[in-house]
């Protein structure tokens, strides 16, 4: 069972990822979604590192889950995908970071707008959550909802 770190507390995932059997709602790939494979009701989509998240704009009304995949340690494309989704596309639903991720990545992920985390299975969820409190200040504006750092207004517009 997949454990997802999110507020108010970690919970087992109800969604089925592409290729998974079971009874929960199906997460589609971006290609499936844009090809018209969506059934009625809530939509979930899995975003790969090269996917253009701007293509999600037409589905905004029904989209309730976006899973951004981090296939390799150090691949930072998902951070930009999240910023674009939150800032330009205007997505407000669950934005989940999934893959080669440790607790050390959570703070910056949250600042890019991720609000749910599926970390490397070796991570202890409770210890990891405290990472979001790691920094009380930041030099940049954030599109995150989990962290509200006090910004350095003297230096940067916010």
């Amino acid at each position: 069972m997949r454990l997802i770190l999110r507020r108010p507390e970690p919970a087992a995932d109800v969604w089925r990822y592409p290729g998974e059997a079971g009874s929960g709602p199906q997460v589609l790939t971006l290609a499936e979604l844009t090809a018209g494979a969506a059934a009625a009701g809530a939509l979930g989509v899995l975003i790969g590192p090269t996917d253009d998240v701007r293509l999600l704009a037409p589905y905004l009304g029904r989209l309730t889950l976006v899973v951004v995949q981090f296939e390799k340690l150090g691949d930072g494309r998902g951070y930009s995908q999240a910023q674009v989704l939150r800032q330009q596309v205007g997505y407000r639903g669950e934005l989940r970071a999934s893959g080669a991720l440790k607790r050390d990545h959570m703070y910056l992920l949250a600042r890019c707008g991720f609000d749910a985390f599926e970390l490397d299975p070796s991570e202890d969820g409770q210890g990891a959550w405290a990472q979001l409190e790691r920094f009380s200040v930041a030099y940049q504006a954030s599109s995150g909802t989990l962290v509200h750092p006090h910004l350095k207004g003297a230096a940067l517009g916010s």
Partner: protein, 552 residues
């Protein structure tokens, strides 16, 4: 200079605490090597040939004397009594212990310094003209912009895991002393169409395996938009830069693959799309930052024709190691870290402490690091020059060779670096020994020798008037020579003259090259670079590879 406030201090303390915890987890086996690597790299820590190497950021090369004293303290307490200034205006310690690095970072934080993002695939330490604020050819001081970029780029949430490292240089003068055209992004302060000052933006420059001169992607950008525009560049790069091949991951490869027009179009489109979120600087913020870099309290002094005192040593030092200052009565003094026989860029803790004392007495308590691995006391009253020279000389910091052949750039090479193919420091010593006649060096005039121990080009060999690149040939150290490179003015990449030469022949090869220059220059006023440009590399090549060895 910029002084930290409570905000900056809080941030830095939290950052040190984070790395202390990460180091503890690594040593306890809770983080694997692969997991720890990107974390330690973003705190300046490499694992090198002999030991970890810690690269400490010196933002845009500016140091207060209390910071220089702390660098000396760290060298003594945690290292082997010295540090190495690099071509990125940073300082590197070659012998720290991993378990002690959090303590070093805490000590640095106490003087508003850090090692954040001095390595790893992220935005690196921003560099600038080492004559910022004192050069007569300057339109505007680049340092306030550098500090704004430093803050904005520090733990930027979106650009912390880029395809590859990302270097930004800022200049505000007509002469580029920061090699900005061979950076991932070069930012130039220029006048716009209506006469107001803004930025020209270059992208896609770089050295390494594929040297490229940066392309202009924006002729003029209004000041408040600088950070927002940089974000657009970085977002395009973060999304589309190659991640499948480390050697093709720099932004220069993306710019080349797309073509500069298409790359520019994508950046502009991204900038337009992100307009509502892009950071925009307010006039008051800019003014506050500029006030941090206000000129020191210069005295009203007359210009003196020459230093008071007439020793030949003093005059040579004055002529070669000092430069004009835009304020009457002052000179810019270069502190040479190229003493013959020493590793270029190295400085002992005792020298650092002593120089801090001299900077307090003679140069408003500040020292600068140049990208060619010397230090600068930027604001010395002309009537103090003789006393300063007398104090620098016994410290070994007054070698009158700035701008000459022996003022060479040199990476740490095989002696310390795990990437290197060949030694650099030995070659520097060989050149120092062979060319120890200062009258000959002065007759040769300005020659920039730049040397790298491998293709990564930390020593900027492509843009040396004479470039030396260490290569590995079946386990032996050989050296490829290029001629005609230049990092400023008409920026150019050097041309390879032919097959590489064996280690013991490097200085002799240089001697042949220099002999051709002396024979072929039109007159004493024609510099080495000008001669190479006029006659091409052919005549040099002929002499170097002539079978008659008498010429050597």
């Amino acid at each position: 200079m910029y002084a930290y406030d409570q905000f900056d201090r809080t941030f830095l303390a939290e950052r040190v605490a984070e790395f202390r915890e990460q180091t503890r987890r690594f040593l306890a086996g809770e983080l694997s090597e692969d997991e720890f690597r990107p974390l330690r790299l973003r705190n300046g820590l490499y694992i090198q040939t002999h030991a970890p190497m810690l690269r400490v950021a010196i933002p845009y090369g500016l140091l207060a004397t209390r910071q220089l004293r702390m660098l000396a303290h760290i060298a003594r307490r945690f290292d082997r009594g010295y540090g190495h200034f690099s071509t990125r205006q940073n300082i590197q310690y070659n012998w720290p212990k991993l378990a002690e690095v959090p303590d070093i970072l805490e000590a640095l934080a106490s003087v508003e310094m850090h090692a954040i993002q001095t390595s790893g695939n992220c935005i690196r330490n921003v560099t600038a003209d080492h004559l910022a604020g004192v050069a007569a050819d300057e339109l505007e001081d680049p340092r306030p912009w550098c500090e704004l970029i430093r803050q904005w780029s520090t733990l930027h949430p979106e650009f912390y895991y880029l395809p590859r490292k990302f270097k930004i240089a800022v200049t505000g003068a007509s002469t580029d002393r920061a090699a900005s055209e061979v950076h991932d992004v070069g930012v130039h302060l220029v006048r716009g169409p209506a006469g107001e000052v803004g930025f020209e933006i270059l992208a896609g420059g770089g050295l390494g395996r594929m040297p490229v001169i940066g392309k202009r992607i924006r002729a003029w950008l209004p000041k408040p938009e600088l950070l927002g525009y940089l974000e657009a560049i970085l977002r395009v790069y973060n999304r589309h830069g190659r991640r499948d091949n480390i050697h093709k991951a720099r932004i220069k490869v993306l710019v080349k693959a797309l073509g500069v027009e298409e790359f520019t179009r994508q950046v502009e489109a991204e900038y337009a799309a992100s307009a509502a979120w892009a950071p925009r600087l307010e006039e008051a913020q800019i003014a506050r930052m500029q006030a941090c870099f206000a000129p020191p309290a210069y005295l009203s002094l007359p210009d003196l024709a020459a230093p008071l005192g007439v020793s030949a040593a003093l005059l040579a030092w004055y002529r070669h190691n000092s430069r004009a200052h835009k304020i009457a009565g002052y000179r810019v003094v270069f502190v040479s870290l190229k003493k013959h026989g020493e590793a270029p860029g190295d400085m002992s803790a005792e020298q650092m402490d002593a120089l801090a004392e001299l900077a307090d007495r003679y140069s408003f308590g500040q020292v600068r690091v140049t990208h060619d691995q010397n230090l600068v006391l930027a604001d010395v009253a002309q009537h103090d020059l003789a006393a300063l020279h007398a104090a620098l000389e016994p410290l070994g910091l007054a070698t009158p060779n700035i701008g000459t052949l022996t003022d060479m750039i040199c990476c740490p090479g095989l002696d310390f670096c795990s990437l290197a193919n060949a030694g650099s420091i030995d070659i520097a010593k060989q050149i120092h020994e062979r060319f120890n006649d200062f009258d000959y060096l002065y007759d040769l005039g300005e020659i920039q020798v730049k040397m790298s121990g491998c293709m990564n080009a930390c020593g900027h060999h492509h843009v040396g008037h004479i470039g030396i690149l260490g290569v590995d040939k079946h386990g032996e150290e050989w050296y490829q020579i290029t001629l005609g490179g230049s990092a400023s003015g008409r920026v150019a990449l050097g041309e390879v003259i032919g097959p590489s030469v064996p280690k013991l022949q490097v200085a002799a090869t240089l001697a042949r090259i220099l002999a051709v220059y002396v024979e072929r220059r039109e007159d004493a006023a024609e510099s080495f670079l000008e001669t190479v440009r006029r006659i091409g590399v052919g005549p040099f090549k002929e002499r170097v590879y002539a079978t008659d060895t008498e010429a050597a």
